[in-house]
């Protein structure tokens, strides 16, 4: 039986997963390998857009959002496949090749579902909440440099912008929790806000370390100044603990196990999105994965040299690094149990905050020296 074949003890599983990631990156690389495709045919269109800045920005925004939506669908499939492999089962197999179209089918199903709003819900808030979560998730991607040329908005305060915008997502989660008029949702919403605000502090401190080292807040500049040596290689004593703290905070920021308390299934049913169904639920889901992409991409930019890398084009390197970090998140999620709220808080305030403060002081000292 297939159950027997897919034994988790076999090393071939891990190899298969890694090969999958590499193949995905290679496909992306092939797509972006400029000389192979007749890109010059697009020049008149490009010129047309460059002459009209407003239209140009609009086109960029549409592209970014649709790219993210498709990537989220892919990531959901990837997560389900990884979960399946880790759990000695196959994951989605029926829709498309190896179930690759499963999430598209799910999305269509969600779109067609009846739109239910609980009778006693705070209706405006209930309707608004998914977008309050979705919009910040998309906005953060705006400043993320996918490659030297491919960046929505090359803002000179990119790091600050990304951090501040990503925090506002908590507002939407609180609105969802409160608006649904469900006790589990309220508990989930409260947990989400407490968690986000706490873990924001060490995260910001670690970002500040990188900013101090590279002397710029622009994400593009941070990547450019890592040419040749990634941060984690250039400053291993500061950046390896920094990356670890950042990764822990990132897990908490995107509500992933072991920090998935706001939607802890076994305790709070589904936490803040218990009452959501249909497209509103799908929007929460997409926002969650967009946040994943953002935090993984952010980590790749801060510590792993963003788009820098040999042979492959920049976009491929960036995507490969992001995908590997997302894979790491998924791996952690499907392995570890969940922390309790007070344990999670004490982990943040008693360990991560002091550690990141010390790290920041050391970074400042090393720069002054």
């Amino acid at each position: 039986m297939s159950m027997q074949r897919l034994h988790p003890r076999s090393a071939s599983q891990a190899r298969e997963i890694l090969i999958g990631v590499v193949i995905a990156a290679l496909i992306l690389a092939a797509l972006s390998a400029t000389p192979l495709l007749p890109w010059h045919l697009l020049d008149p269109i490009r010129a047309y857009f460059y002459e009209r800045p407003l239209l140009n920005n609009l086109a960029k925004a549409v592209l970014l959002v649709s790219f993210m939506a498709v990537q989220c669908l892919f990531l959901i499939w990837m997560e389900r496949k990884f979960a399946g492999w880790l759990q000695a089962r196959l994951g989605p197999m029926h829709v498309g090749w190896k179930g690759v179209l499963q999430t598209f089918a799910d999305a269509i199903k969600l779109l067609l579902k009846e739109d239910i709003i609980p009778a006693l819900a705070d209706k405006p808030m209930f309707r608004l909440a998914p977008y309050l979560v979705f919009v910040p998730a998309m906005l953060t991607l705006m400043v993320l440099p996918f490659s030297p040329n491919l960046v929505g908005f090359d803002y000179h305060l990119g790091a600050l912008f990304a951090l501040s915008i990503s925090t506002t997502g908590a507002l939407g989660i609180l609105a969802a929790g409160w608006g649904a008029n469900n006790k589990y949702s309220v508990l989930g919403g409260m947990r989400a806000v407490a968690q986000l605000l706490s873990y924001e502090i060490p995260m910001i401190l670690i970002v500040l370390c990188v900013v101090t080292l590279k002397n710029t807040m622009s994400l593009t500049q941070i990547v450019e100044r890592q040419a040749g040596l990634w941060n984690i290689v250039a400053h291993p004593l500061l950046m390896i603990p920094g990356a670890l703290i950042f990764f822990s905070c990132a897990l908490a920021e995107v509500y992933r196990a072991p920090f998935d308390l706001p939607e802890a299934e076994s305790e709070l049913v589904s936490g803040f999105h218990t009452e959501y169904s249909g497209m509103r639920f799908a929007i929460f889901y997409i926002a969650e994965f967009a946040n994943n992409v953002f935090t993984a991409g952010f980590a790749a930019i801060l510590f792993f040299g963003g788009w820098h890398g040999p042979v492959l084009p920049p976009i491929a390197w960036f995507t490969l690094k992001t995908l590997l970090l997302i894979f790491l998140m998924m791996w952690v999620r499907w392995t570890l149990p969940r922390l309790r709220i007070d344990q999670m808080m004490s982990f943040c305030w008693k360990l991560l905050v002091p550690a990141s403060l010390i790290l920041f002081c050391l970074t400042a000292l090393s720069v002054v020296w």
Partner: protein, 371 residues
């Protein structure tokens, strides 16, 4: 200038956990009063699965009642079968042939493995480690395959009957079982390492839901719950039935009384069950498996009480007879019922997340509670 302080109080929140909640393991409803995330009080509400099984049994001949017991503790129905089968044998003075006794012990221990595997998986899932659930269910699947080969059923076996066991082992069963046990012990060690060595798992279990020795005695706890609180009490040792007195096995006891202790007791019990199964396979004599019972079974007037060690604790059955074909009263002492009674005493002061951990560590089955 004086500073006045007023204490802000807000009314607590009443939260209904269940009967439709992913972690109440069946249809249990817990009415908990919350102050933020801290439990103020808890009231378990049971009865959603009440089918009146005990009353139904009064209207049927003794031997027809065995299938009902499958629906008591549906995770270990062979152990429930055993409770009523023993009571019927006692009231009717029936002696089970030796091979039948060995087969019973064998089947009960296999079923104990399956039941504890469900515990392992659901407990880990309750704490957020969903992957362990699928691993333990994979092993359980192989046990179910074995039991299916033996009994023809995968959940409600109805295979331990008054007088013994209706058939002998199918061909090649012993080899399959041994092969499974060899792999299972390796797998169990691995799952144990995966959880026991995990700091988050330990943080969620150690010192949580402590049941003191005195409390366990006062509330009538039995089985792994009592043994996790330092009470070395196992019916298989205290009042051995069938051939348990010939078996060599240890009763794991941990004194901490917390969720971790109960978890460890069950993991260790799985190892001991494997030991018992191997001994059964090795020492089982040839012979009949079932005693001959009269077609019309009318036990003399009187009462009988059987005590067995089910995976959940002390499962007993009381029967009374007036000399007719049907029992006049059937009653089960369901261990889960007593363990649920511990909840109102244990829960005040803990967090919502701990409720799930504690409930999971008690490993209750509602089919047995509600009957």
């Amino acid at each position: 200038m004086t500073l006045t302080t007023t204490e802000i109080t807000s009314p607590g929140m009443t939260l209904n956990m269940g009967p439709q909640h992913p972690s109440t393991h069946g249809v249990l409803r817990l009415v908990v009063e919350l102050d933020g995330e801290i439990i103020q009080s808890c009231r378990p509400v049971i009865g959603y699965l009440h089918r009146g099984l005990e009353k139904m049994m009064e209207a049927r001949p003794y031997r027809h009642n065995v299938p009902f017991t499958d629906r008591l503790d549906y995770l270990a129905s062979l152990n429930s079968n055993l409770a009523i089968a023993q009571a019927i044998e006692r009231i009717g003075n029936v002696t089970v042939p030796e091979r039948g006794q060995y087969l019973r012990v064998l089947l009960c221990e296999i079923n104990r493995l399956a039941s504890h595997l469900v515990f392992l998986g659901t407990f880990a899932t309750d704490l957020g480690a969903t992957t362990v659930f699928l691993y333990s269910f994979r092993e359980r699947e192989r046990i179910l395959d074995l039991l299916e080969a033996m009994t023809g059923a995968r959940l409600t076996y109805n295979w331990i009957r008054a007088g013994g066991v209706p058939t002998d082992l199918p061909e090649g069963f012993g080899e399959r079982l041994t092969a499974f046990l060899d792999e299972f012990q390796f797998a169990l060690d691995e799952y144990d390492r995966l959880l026991t060595g995990n700091r988050i798992f330990r943080a969620r279990c150690e010192g949580i839901g402590v049941i003191s020795r005195e409390m366990a005695v006062a509330y009538g706890a039995s089985g792994p719950v009592a043994r996790g609180s330092g009470i070395a009490y196992d019916i298989r040792k205290v009042a051995p039935y069938d051939v348990y007195d010939r078996m060599e096995f240890d009763v794991p006891v941990y004194t901490e009384g917390d969720c971790m202790a109960r978890y460890r007791v069950r993991v260790e019990e799985m190892r001991q069950s494997a030991r018992i199964i191997r001994q059964c396979l090795r020492e089982m004599p040839e012979g009949e498996t079932m005693a001959k019972l009269p077609k019309i079974f009318k036990p003399p007037p009187g009462e009988a009480y059987s005590r067995t060690e089910s995976p959940r604790g002390e499962l007993s059955c009381y029967l009374s007879s007036d000399g007719s074909m049907n029992p006049t009263r059937v009653h089960f002492r369901a261990p889960s019922f007593f363990h649920l009674g511990l909840l109102p005493a244990m829960l005040p002061g803990v967090k919502v997340a701990d409720v799930i951990a504690i409930l999971g560590s008690l490993d209750t089955v509602l089919g047995e509670v509600d009957r």
